[in-house]
Symmetry: C2
Subunit: 87 residues, 2 copies
């Protein structure tokens, strides 16, 4: 399945969240990751992130499509390459 993950995390936990997401998905923008992932790995990711985030303060939204062709992607402005950012 193809997923887009967007997050709004308080600064003290943001690096840990990104480090975890990076192990499963591609960092495409400051607050967004995307990529192909299995249901099993997504559940593993959810459990790992649940250990890091504060549920009353942080928010992570996961959009998924079973077929990536169901989602069209357009980039307006700069196509950022976040993979060069060191965490």
């Amino acid at each position: 399945m193809y997923v887009i993950v967007v997050y709004d995390i308080e600064v003290e936990r943001i690096d840990a969240v990104r480090q975890t997401l990076k192990q499963y998905l591609t960092w495409i923008q400051n607050s967004a990751f995307e990529g192909e992932i299995t249901e099993g790995h997504l559940e593993e990711l959810r459990l790992r992130l649940a250990e890091i985030i504060e549920k009353e303060k942080d928010s992570i939204i996961v959009y998924s499509a079973n077929n990536p062709s169901w989602m069209k992607k357009r980039v307006w402005g700069k196509e950022k390459n976040m993979t060069t950012n060191i965490l």
Copy 2:
């Protein structure tokens, strides 16, 4: 069509970008909007945002699905209500 818009905009232009997005979509997270929009309005939005952003610095990604049921949404942590934020 249903869209998710994620953005990475420099601070001096962020309010103008959000003000514009708010006229078409729902603010769901610090750096994300979503909602139902026609192709015509999306093109109008693109043109309006193109007037605001700096193409070498700012980035906006638009994911779209013709049928919203093709995309599943999960929220981990807090479900934020950004509509109460005043711009």
